[in-house]
């Protein structure tokens, strides 16, 4: 039997929107970024579906960082709600994307054992969360606005940011990125933010949006993420 199938193939990584592997202003890239040209691959690999995460992978409080690690009270800092959509390049929602976030606490300290910045830990805040996007590709996290902190790349401090890890519907659409806050004076001098090409880096900055519900509880920020999407390519299939 022969029939024509519309085989979805993934659009390529658009390197005009992505940082280079070696970007000397961010010093660690110099010894860690690959230097040989990437080897192109045939389509087979691009069609690999991403792992399927059941809703069992996400606990009921995983999306609420103000509650998922409390020991004896509430975490300190400005409460914020971070929400948005995960879409592909055509604006189609990416459903059931696994979003994992991690961040510093309000004082700019990570709960990580390696973080030596002498700012206080918050016993009621771990700074890790996750959720799955819904049918419209929407997600919501409740958290605390992360503080800035100095880092060993010269004299600078990192702007306030939340780390985002996303698994969409394809293995190759994997994305790890960082969300920044509008108007942060550290952005123009941050090597990591500025590693993204000028025309694309603004996509990393969230928008302040007064919350429609619960405006007295938290500040609202919106952050949409665009993942590589499928394009339909006609292909003959022999069965």
């Amino acid at each position: 039997m022969k029939r024509d199938l519309q085989i979805p193939t993934l659009r390529p990584r658009d390197w005009s929107t992505q940082p280079a592997y070696v970007y000397p202003p961010y010093k660690s890239t110099v010894k860690r970024g690959p230097t040989q040209p990437l080897v192109p691959v045939k389509r087979a690999l691009e069609q690999l579906a991403a792992p399927v995460y059941g809703h069992g992978a996400v606990g009921p409080l995983d999306h609420d960082l103000t509650r998922n690690a409390v020991k004896n009270g509430e975490p300190l800092g400005e409460r914020i709600v971070v929400s948005g959509r995960v879409i592909d390049e055509d604006g189609r929602p990416v459903r059931d994307a696994l979003i994992e976030i991690w961040q510093a606490n309000a004082a700019g300290r990570y709960a990580h054992k390696v973080d030596q910045h002498p700012a206080p830990l918050d016993p009621n805040f771990l700074g890790a969360g996750r959720c799955l996007t819904d049918k419209q590709g929407r997600y919501t996290f409740v958290t605390i606005k992360p503080g800035a902190y100095p880092w060993g790349n010269g004299a600078g401090w990192r702007p306030n940011h939340i780390h985002f890890s996303l698994f969409g519907n394809y293995f190759a659409s994997r994305l790890v990125t960082q969300m920044y806050f509008p108007g942060d004076p550290l952005l123009p001098i941050d090597p990591i933010y500025n590693s993204a090409p000028a025309g694309a880096r603004g996509r990393l900055v969230s928008r302040y949006v007064p919350l429609a519900s619960d405006p007295d509880f938290a500040l609202g920020y919106e952050f949409d993420v665009v993942l590589r999407g499928a394009q339909q390519t006609p292909m003959e299939n022999r069965e």
């Binding site: 860690r32 990437l38 890790a128």
Partner: protein
């Protein structure tokens, strides 16, 4: 195409309590981890282990490796492991030997590499040194310059505890691992 892709940013040094919390002993349940195979997963149980080396040849203690492969039922298994949980900076996955997924595809494991100092993740692939015939037919391997193919081949070692494949990832240098434009 209406929207541009969101730029990647580094995973940074502090991902462990968010992405690999159980492996590193943080009080947060992990969504996935370094054990891919359950007791009833068909196939030969194997361990895939190795280190990530930077351009100075130093082992990287804050890399995160993700792997995906097919088992003998063509079911895909996924795992994640950081290199900072032991002193040797190793990643170590417990899984089963992958099956071939097509006539021009040798058994292999797809790999995502990320770490502090990498602004975008990199894709590579693990092939197996005891699959030479299948490797010779593999269409992805065929597109890799012959002199660099060896960087993608894991070495089989029969140890008392079971079958181990070693696969080191070199970010730079003469033996820089092949990364794919995927």
């Amino acid at each position: 195409m209406k929207y541009g892709q969101t730029p990647s940013q580094t995973v940074g040094p502090y991902f462990a309590y968010g992405l690999t919390p159980e492996q590193y002993g943080y009080p947060f349940r992990a969504a996935c981890g370094p054990v891919l195979a359950e007791a009833r997963t068909p196939g030969e149980p194997i361990v895939l282990t190795g280190r990530v080396y930077d351009g100075d040849g130093k082992p990287v203690d804050d890399a995160m490796i993700e792997i995906l492969h097919a088992d003998t039922r063509r079911k895909y298994l996924f795992g994640r492991c950081g290199t900072g949980a032991d002193r040797e900076c190793t990643f170590r996955f417990e899984t089963v030997k992958p099956a071939s997924t097509g006539p021009r595809s040798a058994p292999h494991i797809d790999v995502i590499v990320m770490m502090r100092g990498m602004l975008s993740h990199a894709f590579t692939r693990v092939y197996f040194d005891d699959e030479q015939e299948a490797n010779a037919r593999d269409e992805v391997l065929a597109d890799v310059p012959a002199e660099r193919r060896g960087t993608l081949i894991a070495r089989r070692e029969e140890l008392p505890g079971g079958m181990v494949y070693r696969f080191d990832i070199r970010m730079q240098g003469r033996d820089e691992t092949v990364f794919f434009d995927l």
